[in-house]
Amino acid sequence: MEASSIQASGKPLESRRRIVDKFGDKVFAGITGLAAAGGIALIGIIVYETVEGAWPAMQEFGLSFIWGRTWDVGKETFGALPFIWGTLYTSIGALLIAGPISIAIGLYLAELAPSAVRGIVGSLVEMLAAIPSVVLGLWGILVLGPIVQNNIGGPIHSGLGWLPFFGSKPTTAGLFSAVLILTIMITPITASISRELFTQVPSDIKEGAIGLGLTRWEMMKGVMLPYTRGGLIAALLLGGGRAVGEAIAVTQVIGITTHGLSVDLFQTGDTLGSRIASQFPGASSDLQKSSLFYLGVILLFMSLVTNIVAQIIVRRYSIDRRA
């Protein structure tokens, strides 16, 4: 009797625990799996909802929206080309400045910096990426703007004004300021990826190059840069993707009106992001809102392409090197 009662009270307890654990594992895997699938689905939701918002404009203008040059709120005629141009022009301009600077910072942090300052300078450079873009934009319009107008833009305009890039008289806002602000925003990103790439270069091939009598720069140029080429391209793509998508700081410094497909850096302009951010608050008609969302779809497409390509390169790269 007694033995069986112990069995009776012991057995269900143990099996209950076994059942809980059996289902617990399944349920837990199920819940977390749903969350993981939800993470992937989020991208789908973002694409779907943005396209849904843009749908009326897509039906109205079709693909010709992309090369349409007019943005006339009164006539309800909208086209994206000036903003696509502004986005590519400022982003590529920023990449041209930030690219070499970031690679130089990466080389400094990986090769030259004394170990005492390496960590500090590295985190300071990354701190630059933590500053909210709206604060950088405020600084860009109120501090950098007047300096661009008087101290940088003025001399460039009077010296090189015959070039189409510097034809206008500089003001506090414009494409030039936008390029500078974007440069500041993307440099920390590309610099920290470059640093990581450079520290992955095996020391034996670096030492081999030095042992053959190469100078440090020849070693960097001959060994480190070729070894990390794919990753550096990905780093630039990621920086470019960030520049393309940045809306707030650019809106603050780029000015109000667009001048179409101008290359003049001292004129005001508009990017996809800045046009959305500056016109959405005052947008009255549904077609105008929808057209702004259509600009968002183009922006989303550009950022998805650059990010996916860059991420795939970065992955292939680091797996190759670790293997």
Partner: protein, 299 residues
């Protein structure tokens, strides 16, 4: 013949000297590039400190926006409602994004097959690269269009921005946990879900906390989603997230382009508040992260 006449020495001459000089020049340029980046950071931070502090007073934290003055510049006022609004929206966003991001990370590093894990990682990294203004549009179409601006919709947009940051940070610390810890738990007959909750989670708690702090710092400074979710709000302190709420970044954005110099000053003061919060929290997070990683690696 030429070479034989020269005495052999370690001093670089001719072409070698030029090569060395070039190499040193590159050293200097690279150092200057790094110094330049640090200088720009210093320039921005000091500008915000100086201009922000001079515009700060106690009323800035307790009052709402100054009322419009058609005859000249405004005076007084503050950002009390924006501070409260940002705190509420970031808080709700954290409540949404933190469990979700941690669950995603647990599945990817503990349960998933490698191919699916790779897909989720790629998705999270791509999600992290989607411009926040597009996320704002998405949430506008999804939540705001029918019902109007609200704190909840702003929090939802911020949560989408925070999820990849929290999930990736959690994955990174989970990968640092040594396999022996899991094996010891399994060897004692502990089931997998109990192992995750009772063994792994306490171990990586610090890492998750720092990831969440970095995500909070990022979300607090996001302006673009606010334009689409909380554009028009009442000029009073409100704690009701079903209504539109003020936010610090949108206040800075609106004031920065104003022709009213007092509002420019207010923008600087708000930028000082926002930047202090963001920089201090991300610095703390980084320090904590380094400490917890060292602890895990040294185990």
């Amino acid at each position: 013949m030429e070479a034989a006449r020269q005495p052999l020495g370690l001093r670089a001459t001719g072409k070698t000297r030029r090569r060395l000089a070039k190499s040193r020049a590159v050293d200097v340029l690279a150092t200057l590039a790094a110094a330049g980046a640090v200088a720009v950071l210093g320039w921005v931070v000091i500008s915000v400190l100086l201009k922000g502090l001079s515009a700060l007073d106690w009323g800035f934290f307790t009052q709402n926006a100054p009322t419009f003055n058609p005859t000249g510049t405004t005076s007084g006022g503050g950002i009390a409602n924006a501070i409260v609004g940002t705190a509420i929206m970031v808080g709700i966003a954290t409540v949404m994004a933190l469990p979700f991001g941690v669950l995603v990370a647990i599945y990817v590093s503990e349960f998933s097959r490698p191919a699916f894990a790779r897909a989720v990682r790629l998705a999270l990294d791509v999600l992290n690269g989607i411009p926040s203004i597009v996320i704002g549009i998405c949430v506008f179409v999804l939540l705001v269009k029918g019902t109007g601006y609200s704190g909840y919709s702003g929090a939802f947009a911020l949560a989408i921005i925070m999820v990849p940051l929290i999930a990736r940070a959690t994955m990174e610390v989970l990968e640092l946990v040594p396999a022996s810890l899991r094996e010891a738990s399994f060897a004692l007959g502990v089931s997998k879900w109990r192992t995750v909750l009772k063994v792994l989670m306490p171990t990586v708690f610090g890492g998750i906390l720092t990831g969440a702090t970095l995500a909070v710092a990022r979300a607090a400074g996001e302006t673009a989603p606010m334009i689409f979710t909380n554009l028009v709000y009442q000029n009073k302190v409100s704690t009701d997230p079903s209504q539109a709420l003020a936010s610090i970044p949108l206040t800075i954005f609106n004031y920065s382009e104003s022709f009213d110099t007092h509002l420019n000053d207010q923008a600087w003061a708000a930028a000082f508040v926002l930047m202090s919060f963001v920089l201090i929290s991300s610095l703390t997070a980084r320090a904590l992260l380094m400490r917890s990683q060292r602890k895990l690696r040294g185990r």
